[in-house]
Symmetry: C2
Subunit: 340 residues, 2 copies
Amino acid sequence: MTAAPSVHREIHLTSRPVGEPTAENFALVESAIPEPGEGQLLVRNTWMSVDPYMRGRMNAGTGSYIAPFDLGAPLGGGATGTVVASKAAAVPVGTAVLHQLGWREYAVVDAAAVMPIDVSLAPASAYLGVLGMPGLTAYAGLTEVAPVAKGDVVFVSGAAGAVGSVAGQIARLLGASRVIGSAGGPEKARKLVEDFGFDAAIDYRAGSLAEQLAEAAPEGIDVYFDNVGGDHLEAAIAAMRPGGRIALCGAISQYNATEPVAGPRNLAYAIGKQLTLRGLLVGSYYHLAPQYAQLAAGWLASGELRTEETVLDGIDRAPEAFLGMMRGANTGKMLVRLAG
Amino acid sequence: MTAAPSVHREIHLTSRPVGEPTAENFALVESAIPEPGEGQLLVRNTWMSVDPYMRGRMNAGTGSYIAPFDLGAPLGGGATGTVVASKAAAVPVGTAVLHQLGWREYAVVDAAAVMPIDVSLAPASAYLGVLGMPGLTAYAGLTEVAPVAKGDVVFVSGAAGAVGSVAGQIARLLGASRVIGSAGGPEKARKLVEDFGFDAAIDYRAGSLAEQLAEAAPEGIDVYFDNVGGDHLEAAIAAMRPGGRIALCGAISQYNATEPVAGPRNLAYAIGKQLTLRGLLVGSYYHLAPQYAQLAAGWLASGELRTEETVLDGIDRAPEAFLGMMRGANTGKMLVRLAG
C-alpha cells in the first residue's frame, strides 16, 4: 500500500439527463483529497458499483424516495475500499470496508458509515453484488415481498443483471419448481439457462413477450420479480395464476422516460386473480442481511449460487459503465475497478 | 303466504352487451315454475341484488374468475326469499333464506345452497347489503387486504355505493383518523359527510380528482379502497404515503370498456413508496363472515354504522336497477323488491 496522494479523480454530474443519459452529463474532475477529521477515515476505493436506481437520483428532486445528486459535485453509491488513514480507533488503517461514497478514487467517510468486510471470505467486489445490496434485494423480494412457496413457477425479468441473476437462483433454492428469466439478446438468454440454471429463458427482443412467456410457463406463474416494468409487467399480470405475487423492484424500461408511461392495461386482472403487487426498497430489509449473508455464503461455497461480473477498469470509465448497465451491456454485476 | 302459482316471471339475458348495457340486452320472460326435487326448496324471492360484478358475467367467457351468464336464460345473483315448498327436512316451509338465484320471482334451489337468515335481527334486504356480500367485502378489504391501522388516513372511491358507504364507516371504526370518500355529484358528496360520517367528500365530476384529493388529504393517504379503477387509482397512487396499502376491489369505470384501458401511469411510484396493491374477491374471506356479522350487528344497533338502500319495485324493473347502479343512480345498496 502506497501513501495516499494529495489529489485524486472523481466523476461529477454536470447536467441532468433528459431521457437517456450520455457521457456529456458527466465529467472527470481532479480534486484535492480532503483530510479526514476526528472520527473519519480516508479510504482508497477499490471497487465501485453502478446501479439502475442511480438514474432516478440524476433527476431534479420530484418526491423520489432518495435525494437527487447535486450538480457539479461527485455522484455517490456503493463502493469498497481500504482504509489508508484513520482518525477512528475502531477502524484501523488496512481495514477493508463497504461504504456509499463511490464515483471517486479516495473518499473521506465517517467511521460510523462504513461496514468492515471480510475479504478472506469473498472478494471485495462480491460485497457490491451477490453479498451486497443486489443480493439482499433478490432475497428480500422472494422471501418477504413476493414470497416463493415450494412448487411455485417464478418469472424474473432483467434476469441477466446483478439482482435478476441472483433472484432466479434464489427462487430455485427456495423451492420453486420452475424458474423463467428474461433478458435482451440470445447470448444472455443462453447464459440464463447454461450458467445461472434457469429452466427457460426469454429473449425479449426476439418477439412477443406475452407469447414467449405463455410458451415458457403454459400453466402460468405464481411469482414475478419485476426489474423492468412496462411490457414485462403487463405480460406477467396476464400470465399470473390466482393468488400470484409480484415484487415491484425496478422499472428500468421507464427510467429514461420523459413522459408519464402508461401502466399495465390489464391491471384490473389483479382483482379477479387476487394478485398482490408490492414495491421493494432494499433499505427496508437490512434486518435480513445477517440471515442472508449466512445463506449466501453457504450457497456460494457449495456452488449452488453462481455469479458473474462485468468489470471496467478505471474511474474514467465509470460513466461508460453506468450507461452500459442501463442499456443492458452487462451480465451479472456491473462494476468499476478503481484499484487492486 | 299464498300458494305458489304455476308460472312466474324472470329476467333473461338475450344478448351480450358491447360497452354500456341497455334495456335491449334483457327480456322479461314468463315461465313455468319447476317442481322442487328431493333435497330442494321452492323459494318465493323477496329481494334481489344488482351488483357491479354482474357486468363481467354478461360478457362471453374470457378467463374471468366467474362463469358467464348464459344467453336466453335467467341471470343470477344474490336474493332473499321465503321457502314455500320444501323437500328438505332441514329447511322447512316459512324459512327466510339467502341464495344465489335472483332475477326471478320464484327459485328452485338445493337446500345445501341456501343460508337461513334471521329476519327478526335485521330486515331481509340487509342480508344483501351491509350484512351480506357488500358489507363483508368492505370488512375484508380493510382488515385483510389493505389493513387499516390506528391513525391512518383512508380514501374510499365509489363511497356512496353499497360497499363504499360501509367501507368508509368501517375504516373509522377500525381507527382511521380521517376518512375521505369520492362519489359522483354534489348530492352524494353531501350524503357522504352528513349521513355516512366521512370527514371529506370529493365529487369526482366537479374537477380534478388529484387536486381535490390533495386538498382533502394534504399529508397523503395510507389506505385506498378502490371500487372504481382508472383515474381514481392513479390519483390515489400519487397521494399514497410510503408503505400505503390499496385494496383493488372494483374497477367500475372500466367494466363497460371495449378496448384495453391504460393502467395508472404512475404505478412505478409503488416501488419507491413500497406500496402494496392487492386484489380482493369476497369469496376468499367467508371465514370472516361470523366475526363480521357479530361486529356489524353491534355497530348497526348502536347507530355507529348507517346504511341506505335504493329500492325499485318489481322484477320487471331489475334491468333498470342494474343499469342505474352501473351509472351510479343509487345511494347505498341498490335492490329490487320482488315481494313483501
